[in-house]
């Protein structure tokens, strides 16, 4: 940091408001894409493996390894194959959501009480009706809890994708580090945290809307 420079230069922020807005937008798109694609993959996979314990173990093992690879290393590994592209960024980001989402979707489905399942089957629900009308609605709070963790994690991780030129709030952080200029660094970090908190709160509201029975008390 340059000596004598204030921690935050508000004039810089005012001058760059449009760029900041643009980066926030990019950040949201990158995150949304990652969680969206990750959710679709996890959902399909989870429904397939929810009742197959050995397959489930295998899938969590693989996604668990994926989860432990440091993000910088992963991008470095991918660049020779997919280049400095959106694809590279998303492969990484999606990869990190899988473990969390699959665990929560499968866990949610498995958490449906045995008596509820038995009653549904005993009354003549087909497998599909059981899944869509009973198991998934009841798994919803656990599933959304997973989506929250995955989203917050991805918002943080997306700052790294600036390294491969995909924009987002990481761009400011990178800029701040490279220019020894604290203002963009603080703006990038703060907005990233703020975004995570806001999106998380929105998801909590969504969950409350979707699971009215959880709030019902006598």
């Amino acid at each position: 940091m340059t000596p004598g420079e204030p921690l935050i230069r508000w004039d810089w922020i005012v001058r760059n408001l449009d760029v900041i807005g643009q980066r926030v937008g990019e950040h949201l798109v990158l995150t949304g894409l990652a969680v969206g694609i990750g959710f679709v993959i996890s959902f399909v996979l989870s429904i397939w493996i929810a009742r197959k314990p050995r397959l489930y173990a295998l899938v969590t093992w693989i996604t668990g390894i994926l989860y432990t690879i440091p993000s910088l290393a992963l991008f470095a590994l991918l660049i020779p194959v997919t280049g400095l592209s959106l694809l590279t960024a998303e492969i990484g980001l999606v990869g990190y959501t899988l473990l969390i989402l699959i665990r929560n979707i499968v866990g949610g489905i498995r958490s449906v009480p045995a008596d509820v399942r038995e009653a549904a089957i005993g009354m003549g629900y087909t497998e599909r009706q059981l899944l869509w009308r009973v198991e998934l609605p009841l798994a919803l709070s656990v599933i959304i809890a997973g989506v929250r963790v995955a989203t917050v994690t991805t918002i943080g991780l997306t700052t790294v994708t600036a390294l491969i030129g995909q924009g987002g709030l990481g761009y400011f952080i990178l800029e701040g580090i490279q220019r020894f200029f604290s203002t963009p660094l603080i703006v990038g970090a703060t907005l990233s945290v703020l975004l995570a908190v806001l999106v998380d709160a929105a998801l909590v509201l969504l969950q409350r809307q979707l699971t009215p029975w959880a709030r019902a008390t006598s």
């Binding site: 009480p113 038995e118 009653a119 549904a120 005993g122 009354m123 003549g124 009973v134 029975w213």
Partner: protein, 409 residues
Amino acid sequence: MADRSPGHDALLTTGGRGATVELRDVSKQFGPAVKGTAGAVNNLSIEVPPGEICVLVGPSGCGKTTTLKMVNRLVEPTSGQVLIDGQDVQRIEVTALRRRIGYVIQQTGLFPHQTIGRNVATVPRLLGWPEERIRARVDELLRLIGLEPERVRDRYPSQLSGGERQRVGVARAMAAEPPVMLMDEPFGAVDPIVRERLQNEFLRLHRRLGTTVLLVTHDIDEAIKMGTRVAVMQQGGHLAQYAPPAELLTHPASEFVADFVGADRGLKRLSLMTVDDVELGRAATARLGEPVGAARARAGTASWILLLDADGRPEGWLSVGQLREDREITSELADPSSPIFTHETTLREAISRLLATAVQTGVVVDENGRYEGTLSLETVGAALRASAAESTNGAAVPSGAEPATERAQ
């Protein structure tokens, strides 16, 4: 019935009337045919006539729940057949079969994410009933089980008491008027007082609906109370005895059944019999305002006279020795402590009330409260011995074994 959706089995659509359920030589082995596995069933044959309540009772692991689940094919038998009105359930498409069989389980299995109205509507919805018909049926059922539709319809199961949830479970099972209902420990999860009430309610409901019921319990008292027929099962899935409850108590088929129904089976039989089954005694009676002399003459050698009011309702007992010749009889002279019974009072209750009071004789009245006769420990004992003798002589069914639904509770 109006409902004739495609794939709907005509034979199963008996519209509220019970169907015959027959298990023919049914066996179920779990795993690689290990003998004596918990829940296994061995060559079981029972026939349940339409409208009867067949209770499957036995110690845990005797295969009673397995037997029940073979009717709606939650468990497929290893061998043997299950027939509903003569039709093999294996030949009926499994979801269509289950939608025509009511199913109640101990933990209720209500859907926590659906309102009570939605829960009750489950099977009608699966059958594709029109919305208005479903709505009307839901309200009708909620009223039938004693819950106000306006109060509970839009609530969630977690907002109801255990007893209410249990009732909703029964209503949900009855929603599409199934000819057969399967109940697995339906009253097991509630406290004894609520259980007793739910049992009585269900018997009343059953009398109206005439559904054929198969009910599983481990509680022999519940079996005797609820069943018109009781199938006692023992470990290894063997049928130990299949008989009306009274016969089970008077003539247990084996040592196992005798042990299972308990050494107090004489007492248990008392709860199957009512005052109606007893030859009532006669007491000397006196009317209010009558001169003592006339009453005393009628008493003969008896030391007590029953005082009746102008309408023939009992006022109490008069001690002949204490009556003064020169006076009229007033109600203050009568001792009212004697218990009053109606025709519907069970002998179990009658005896327990007789034992609790100092007097040996209870008074039996008709539905208007008028004196009909007397009942004492001796007359009950005689009736008990007579009914036991009757079933020994091969008489069809002792009087106490009329369908449980006819019994007063």
